[in-house]
Chain length 600, copies 2
C-alpha cells in the first residue's frame, strides 16, 4: 500500500514564505482569535493564523495581506485557538476499534496526534500486524505515530503468543515512515538485569534517533529502578503517585500521567507541579487505554486536560502537557504541538479554556470536526484475511474440552483459584475447597470455571482452572478473544456446555466477545480484526459493549469494569494468579502451579 | 584522520545498568553533593553521582553499593554539582584560537559543550576548512558540535571569498559525525524571498533531522520576519531587546541571548522571563563571539550565567538556559545538558550557585580542570599546508599599490569615506574633501587610507579607499587577515610605505595582525591557521592582542574595541559603507560606489 505522506516543511517552505510575505494568498486564515501560545505560555488575543499547504505560514495581528479571493476565512473572534491535543502514549486496540475508527471517534474531541503502541496486535500477528496498524494509521487525516511494540510475548516462557517480536523486527520497524520509537519497555526486570534482547531493542531505537518508551510498574524506587533508568527508557506512564512522578522527572525521564477509562493516575501525580512546583516541562498527559464507551460518552485527551485543570493545574500548563511537551519528547516540536510557523495546522477552536468545549477541530488545515461531529474521512486499510481470520482452533469445542478431572479417587479437592479483586488489576491467589461429581470438579458458589483456549496455532490446547469473584449465577459462559497480552481466548462460565457454545461462536466469527446463558447468546461484540478490533464505528461498538456489560449484570456480575477483569485474566505479568496456555501461573514466582493442591 | 568517537549510551548500557544495580563497581562516584536538577528545577542535597564508561550510571542518595576498591571517590559535600555549561552558538575563530586551544581556554570556566559555526574558515577554505575544524573539534575532551556554515560568501556578488559553500556541501556535511545542524542563516533577505540555494541548505538540514540556526539581524518584525520564520530557522541570537526575544519565542523559535566580548544582549532581553514571566524553556544563553582576552580574564559561559543572574534571573533558570534548554534545542537532551542517567558525565563542582566559582570541571567522567587550571590534553589537529599557507598575494607589495590617484587634473576631491562609529558595528557613509599632491589623494586629519588586499587567489587586487574615526597619527599602518567575512587583508594606515610593510609581513607569516610605525613593527599577533587562528595558548594570544591594542593606542587610536572595528570594515552585510575586493560598497543599497564623488 502506498501512502501519500503529508508533505514536509521543506517540501512546502517556499510557499509558506511567499504566503507569510504576502506574495501568495493563503489557503485559510483564522481571524482575530486568541492565540494559545504553548511556547511562551501565554494567551494572545486578536491574532490571525495563516495556513498554506496544510501548515501554518505565519501568525500575525492582522493577516489581511495574506488573504486572496480564494482564501477561506474563519472568524475566530472570542475563540481560543489551541494546538490540537496529543496523546503521549496509548493503545488503539483498547478501544476495540481499528485506527481509522479510533481516529473518527477522537477527532471531535480535539485529538490530532496520537503515539500508539500496537502491542496487542503484535502478540497476535507479529511484525506484519504492526505494519498493518502502522499503515492504516498513516492513512488518517490526523497524526498517528506508531511505537514499535517491544515485548511480545510480555512474559517469555510463561505464555505462547501468536508471534514474537525480535530485536531484528525492532530494527526493521525503525526504518518505516510512521515509527516514532519503541513501545513501552514492559520487561523492566529484563532491562534491570541487562537482558541482551531488551538492550538490543533499545539500542536499535536509540541509534535510529528515536524515543524509547518506558513502563516501570513497580513502587520500588531503589537499585532496580536506577538500573532500569540506566537502560535508556525515556518516559514512563506507570507512575501512580507524586513520588513516582517526581522520581521519574528527576532522573531525566518524562512522567506521563494517564487518565484512561480505568486509569486515574493524574490527580495523585499532578501535585508534583501544583504543590511541589516542579518545572512542568517534563510532564505529559496520556490515556494509555480508552474503551469505546469512554470515547463516545466522555471524550479523549480533552477529558484528560479538563481533569488536570480540575485537579488545580493551570490551564496553560495542562495544555502544554498535551501539546508541546509531548511533541518535544518525541522530537517533533518543529512539526506539531504548537501553533507556530511551519507546523501542521492542527488546532481546536474553543470558547473556554477550562471546560474546553470543542467547537471546531482542524487538522492539516482541514476542518475535521464541528460540534462533536467528525467531518473527515478516515480511510480503512484493506485488512487481509490473515488479519481477519486469526481465531484458529483445532476443531469444534465440546463440553468435554472444559471438563476438569479430579485427582483419581478424590471426592473433594483444594483448588488454586484466581481471585478477582474489585477495581484492581492484580488478582489474589485464593484456595477453595470444591466438590467432585462423577470424577469432575464443579463450579460452586462464586467460584466458576475459567479456560484459556489456544487460538493462534490450532493446537487444540485448553487450559482449565477456576476463578472467583464475578458472581455469575445460572448456566452461563462468557468468552473473549481479547485476552491480554497473548490474546488467546478466555472463557469464564458456570456451565461447560455454555462455555463450548461461546468458544465456538468466537471461532466462527473470527473473534470478539460473547455471552451465552441457557443456550442463548445474550450479547455479542464482533471483533473481526485480529480478534481484537472492530472496523465498525465507535458508537456501535460502545453500544454492543454496553449490552455486554448489561448481560454480565443479568448473569449476576456486579463488579466494576467486569469485562476488563475478564480480559486481563491471562496477563501473566501482573500478580498474583493468572492463566495462560502453559497452565495456571503464579505471577509472584513466575512459575506454573497446579490447579489442585496436593491433598494432605 | 580517524576519530575515537565517544561511545554511545547503547554502547555502554549494559555496564551502566550493572553499575546502577550494584553488580559492577563504578569508575567514579561524587559523594554527598547538592544535585542541581535542571529537569525538575530543584537543588537536591545529599546525592551521589555514579559514573561508569564516562556516563552517569545513576544518581542516588547513597551509592555505597556502587563503590568498589578501584572506584575513584570525590567528596562533594557542600558543593553544588552542576551540569557542564553549553554555549548554544559561537564561533571559535573569534577567539583567534584553534578549537583545541579554545577548548583549553574554556574548560576551566566549566564549558563542556559548544555549538560552533566555523563560518570564518569556510570563507577562507570552504568545506575542507570546515572539515578540519570539525575534525579537531572531535579530538577534544569536551563536546564541540559543528554547525555547518550556511552563508559563504555572506554577501554574494559583493565580495569574493576563498571558497563558496553550496547546498551540496551542506548536504554532504550533514553526514559527518560531528555536525549538529546548519550555522546561522545570515542571508535573511534571501530566506524571506525564498532564495533556492538558501532553501536547499535548510531543507538538507531539516531532512537530516538537524537544527537550522537562525540570524535575523533586523528590528523589523513585520512580514519579512514572518517570512524568515516560515523558512525554517529554529533559533536566533540576533535579538537585542525584550520585544525581539518575545517575538522569537512566540513564533516557536528559541531566543538565544548572547553575552560575547562585544555583545551585551542578555540584560535587555532577559526581562521577557524576569518581568514578563514567559516560560523560560525557549531561552538559551550563548556567547557568539569571545576574544581570547575575555576567555583569559573574564570567563566564558560562566560569565554569561553570572551575568544573567546579576540581571535578576533565578539561578536555576539561568543554568537551565545554559544546559538543558540548549541540549533540548539540538536534540541532545538524552546525551547531555543534565545530570541524569545515561548522559555524559560532564559537570562542575561549585560552592555557590550565584557567583559560580568553578572549583572542578569534569568531562566524560574525567577531571579536566581544577581551580582555573586546565588538566586535560586538548589534542591538536595536524593542520596541513593548505590551512597554514592561505595568504596568497601576487608579489611583494609596494607603496605604489596603495597609491590613490586623483581624477585627472583635480586639485581636490570629495571622497566617500567609511566612518567608524564608537561602540557600534554599523559604519557611517561620510564624505570628506581631501587634498591632492602629485596626482595622489592623501590622508588628512582623522581620515586615513584603507586597503583591501586580495589574498585568496593572488590576483594582485588591491582596493583602496578612505576611512575615518581611528584617530591615527604619525606614519603608521595596521594590517589584519581577519577581515570579516571574506577574510582578505585589511590594511589601514596613514602612510603607504608602512602599509606595504605591514601587508608584506602578513603575507610572509601566513596571516595575523601587525602594526608598523616608522618602519618598525610595534606589535604582532601571528595567526597561521587560515590567517584566522593561532595554535598557541589563549594566554599568549591574549597577551599579544593586548600589545596590539596598546600599539594602536600609541598610534593615537582611542576607540573602544578598535581592533574589532578594523576587522569588520569588510563586512559588507552591515550598513552603511564597507570595503571589499569588488570596491567600496554602499551596504544600504547593496552596490558599489566610487571612492570619489564627481566634482560638481
Amino acid at each position: 500500500m502506498v501512502h501519500a505522506l503529508f508533505p514536509s516543511w521543506p517540501d512546502v517552505a517556499a510557499n509558506l514564505i511567499n504566503v507569510a510575505a504576502g506574495r501568495s494568498p493563503a489557503d485559510l486564515v483564522f481571524r482575530g482569535g486568541i492565540w494559545v501560545n504553548v511556547h511562551s505560555r501565554e494567551c494572545l488575543p486578536d491574532h490571525d493564523i495563516v495556513v498554506a499547504s496544510g501548515r501554518i505560514a505565519c501568525i500575525v495581528p492582522d493577516a489581511r495581506h495574506c488573504i486572496g479571493p480564494e482564501t477561506q476565512v474563519v472568524e475566530a473572534q472570542g475563540l481560543y485557538m489551541v494546538p490540537g491535543l496529543c496523546d503521549g502514549h496509548m493503545h488503539i486496540e483498547s478501544g476495540m476499534l481499528t485506527p481509522a475508527e479510533f481516529a473518527r471517534a477522537v477527532i471531535p474531541h480535539g485529538t490530532t496526534t496520537m503515539f500508539t503502541d500496537p502491542h496487542e496486535i503484535a502478540n497476535v500477528l507479529g511484525l506484519q500486524g504492526v505494519r498493518m496498524m502502522h499503515d492504516e494509521a498513516l492513512l488518517q487525516p490526523i497524526n498517528i505515530f506508531t511505537q514499535m511494540p517491544s515485548c511480545a510475548p510480555s512474559a517469555p516462557g510463561l505464555e505462547t503468543t501468536g508471534y514474537e517480536i525480535t530485536a531484528d523486527d525492532v530494527a526493521e520497524a525503525m526504518t518505516w515512515p510512521g515509527i516514532i520509537g519503541l513501545g513501552e519497555m514492559m520487561n523492566f526486570p529484563g532491562v534491570a538485569h541487562a537482558d541482551p534482547q531488551m538492550l538490543a531493542e533499545i539500542a536499535a531505537t536509540q541509534r535510529a534517533g528515536k524515543t524509547v518508551g518506558g513502563h516501570y510498574a513497580s513502587p520500588d524506587l531503589g537499585p532496580d529502578f536506577a538500573a532500569y533508568v540506566a537502560g535508556g527508557p525515556a518516559d514512563d506512564h506507570e507512575g501512580t503517585c507524586e513520588t513516582d512522578a517526581i522520581a521519574r522527572v528527576r532522573q531525566g525521564m518524562r512522567a506521563m500521567m494517564r487518565l484512561g477509562s480505568a486509569w486515574y493516575d493524574v490527580q495523585r501525580q499532578i501535585t508534583a507541579i501544583t504543590q511541589k512546583g516542579l518545572d512542568p516541562r517534563s510532564f505529559i498527559l496520556c490515556t494509555d487505554d480508552c474503551h469505546s464507551g469512554t470515547l463516545v460518552n466522555e471524550g479523549h485527551m480533552n477529558r484528560v486536560v479538563r481533569h488536570a485543570i480540575a485537579c488545580g493545574c493551570d490551564p496553560l500548563i495542562a495544555l502544554q502537557m498535551a501539546t508541546i511537551n509531548t511533541a518535544t519528547h518525541f522530537g517533533l516540536e518543529r512539526e506539531l504541538g504548537s501553533l507556530t510557523p511551519g507546523r501542521r495546522a492542527d488546532l481546536i477552536l474553543t470558547p473556554d479554556l477550562t471546560t474546553l468545549p470543542i467547537q471546531q477541530v482542524w487538522a492539516r488545515g482541514k476542518l475535521v470536526a464541528r460540534n462533536g461531529l467528525c467531518l473527515a474521512e478516515c480511510p480503512h486499510y484493506d485488512w487481509p484475511d490473515t488479519a481477519r481470520r486469526t481465531v484458529r482452533v483445532k476443531q469444534s469445542l465440546t463440553q468435554a474440552d472444559f471438563a476438569i478431572a479430579a485427582p483419581t479417587g478424590a471426592n473433594a479437592v483444594r483448588a488454586n483459584v484466581i481471585g478477582v479483586v474489585e477495581n484492581q488489576a492484580p488478582t489474589k491467589a485464593l484456595q477453595r475447597d470444591l466438590i467432585v461429581q462423577d470424577g469432575l470438579v464443579e463450579s460452586q458458589g462464586d467460584t466458576c470455571q475459567i479456560a484459556l483456549v489456544e487460538r493462534h496455532r490450532a493446537t487444540g490446547g485448553v487450559t482449565n482452572a477456576f476463578v472467583s469473584g464475578f458472581g455469575y449465577e445460572g448456566r452461563m459462559a462468557m468468552a473473549s478473544t481479547v485476552a491480554h497480552d497473548s490474546h488467546h481466548m478466555i472463557v469464564v462460565g458456570t456451565d461447560r456446555e455454555q462455555m463450548a457454545l461461546a468458544a465456538n461462536r468466537l471461532a466462527e466469527l473470527g473473534g470478539g466477545i460473547t455471552l451465552y446463558r441457557d443456550g442463548t447468546e445474550l450479547a455479542l461484540v464482533e471483533l473481526p480484526i485480529a480478534g481484537l478490533m472492530s472496523d465498525s464505528p465507535a458508537r456501535d461498538v460502545a453500544a454492543k459493549a454496553e449490552q455486554m456489560v448489561q448481560a454480565m449484570i443479568d448473569c449476576g456480575c456486579t463488579l466494576n469494569n467486569a469485562y476488563m477483569q475478564h480480559s486481563l485474566l491471562a496477563l501473566v505479568v501482573i500478580p498474583e494468579l493468572r492463566i495462560s496456555d502453559k497452565g495456571l501461573i503464579d505471577v509472584r514466582r513466575f512459575k506454573e502451579i497446579p490447579v489442585f493442591e496436593p491433598l494432605s
